[in-house]
Symmetry: C2
Subunit: 312 residues, 2 copies
């Protein structure tokens, strides 16, 4: 059995969203205990992960230090988080596997994701990222070519393009490592977005890709049996936050899309997870949205008892 | 034939040492043209690279933004540079290989290098890193547990431990990828230093490892035929900068060590390259110290015409 586990922010930050180094290390360590259970069961495991708070921190450092050290582009910030989160996962997953008595084999790949140079998101950037700034400081950033939006009371915030992922470029290297018994970290933060230039070669671009949508693409490319989208709730919930709240067990992609169209799922949080699960299910796979501590159960379950299972 | 190419700073920065993003991209693009020639010749190629200026920049960002964003430890900065430089190499080497008509296969691994927890360098840190600060600002850093030294006129500078590399932990993953036809980027910046903790698991530590010494270790682990140390001069030179300057062609490790003992090679630049070449040659291999544009010639040459060849 081949499994792709997409780790949400709670696998890399404190419950309050804080991303101090010690918070990240503690969260990854806890998450890898759950992942190790799946690896130890004999499944081939691919891991991908979010990086929102981490990239946000890097952007703030870029801005504050800009007069002393040249800022690096947003795509480089994504690559930087693949390095740090990859490092944390290597150490923590190997430790969790060693504790279970096996020989740990874990590898983390610097990973790119192809997007279309003419993706409409590039002309209408809408993904908020980084800190809030007062209007005058935002205006200075806009002069440097960035897009910032007035968000009311908290201030202005940078918005970037979040183009649709087309293809994970490290999929063949990941396949080679999987076949050799490695758990493989790939497409972290959705992968560094790259486009094909007019001259042919690839070049990374300043954008971010939704990590769950990339996970659905990667799951399809690798032909995984289950795509597990791990987050901080046990399942997809209808009427979230009301008396009529109701967890969804097993559901078809068509039904789930209807519910999404009714506005049940927030654009910035459950929305992309539902979209990713539907895409993978529509391509013939099984997708599960569940909490970190139910990953192992969710891989084995087909009834919807361990999360929201989305089927074709 | 299996080759390890260790890329020096001039493969990732402008000739004046500047490490703006455009400088890094231009330097990597030029370097990958030379590397592609070796890959296209049919050799199995492992790449490693330095990261001094890049890590220095990240440390400065850490310091300047510390009151707003939590700084990350030095080992994380190293991992971050593996992400960015790995990304640049993936794009540039694939482009150079595609231009030669082949199917490019390149992978970059987040990489750790084992060092001893009781390495004497940890108690006497001596590797200067990052920017100069006035005494009062350095004193504040020292209060936070860092080591800083008075360097005279330019100010105080942080010094960190540069422990001896023992083992590259990603060597098996690199071997799997090499066997599948990949050029593999591994142990960037000497690898992220990790120690075995008392409890057993690995943990990364705040230090930097000389990338050429790590390259010698990795070359031994991978059983490469040639270790190429690529830098900004054509060969090792005796009496550097004098009328008696003389390039060394073929030399034995023993002879080269004698010359090193006579003080011919600077501690911070040619010294570690000579030490790395000697270590690999003493283990039975062939090491070459040469310039970037002579890499391909140096791989094939055994006479010392294309660089300084160090043999057992």
């Amino acid at each position: 059995m081949r499994v792709l586990i997409a780790l949400g922010g709670n696998a890399m930050t404190a419950p309050d969203g804080s991303a101090r180094p010690e918070d990240q290390r503690a969260a990854v360590t806890a998450a890898m205990d759950a992942v190790a259970e799946v690896v130890a069961s004999g499944a081939e495991v691919v891991l991908t992960h979010g990086n929102g708070p981490q990239v946000g921190n890097l952007l703030v450092k870029n801005e504050i230090a800009a007069s002393v050290v040249p800022p690096v582009p947003l795509d480089w910030c994504g690559a930087q988080t693949q390095g740090t989160i990859g490092l944390l996962i290597l150490d923590a997953l190997e430790a969790a596997l060693s504790a279970r008595g096996g020989t740990p084999r874990v590898a983390a790949l610097v990973s790119r994701t192809l997007v279309a140079a003419d993706d409409p998101h590039f002309t209408a950037p809408s993904k908020p990222i980084g800190r809030y700034l007062p209007a005058d400081e935002a205006a200075a950033m806009i002069e440097h070519g960035q897009s910032w939006q007035d968000r009311g009371a908290p201030g202005w915030r940078r918005v970037v393009a979040s183009p649709d992922p087309i293809e994970c470029l490290e999929v063949e290297a990941a396949s080679v490592l999987l076949a050799a018994g490695y758990a493989v970290v790939c497409a972290g933060g959705g992968g560094v977005p790259v486009v094909r230039t007019a001259a042919g070669p690839l070049a990374s671009v300043e954008a971010v890709i939704d990590k769950d949508l990339t996970a659905a693409v990667l799951a399809g490319q690798l032909g995984v049996d289950v795509l597990v989208i791990a987050t901080d709730v046990d399942a997809v919930v209808l009427n979230w936050g009301t008396q009529d709240a109701q967890a969804i067990g097993a559901v078809s992609a068509g039904e789930l899309r209807s519910l999404a169209a009714q506005g049940h799922f927030a654009a910035g949080s459950m929305g992309p997870k539902v979209e990713a699960a539907c895409r993978f299910a529509e391509a013939g796979g099984r997708a599960v949205i569940t909490s970190l501590d139910r990953i192992a159960d969710a891989v084995a379950d087909t009834t919807g008892a361990a999360g929201t299972i989305v089927t074709p």
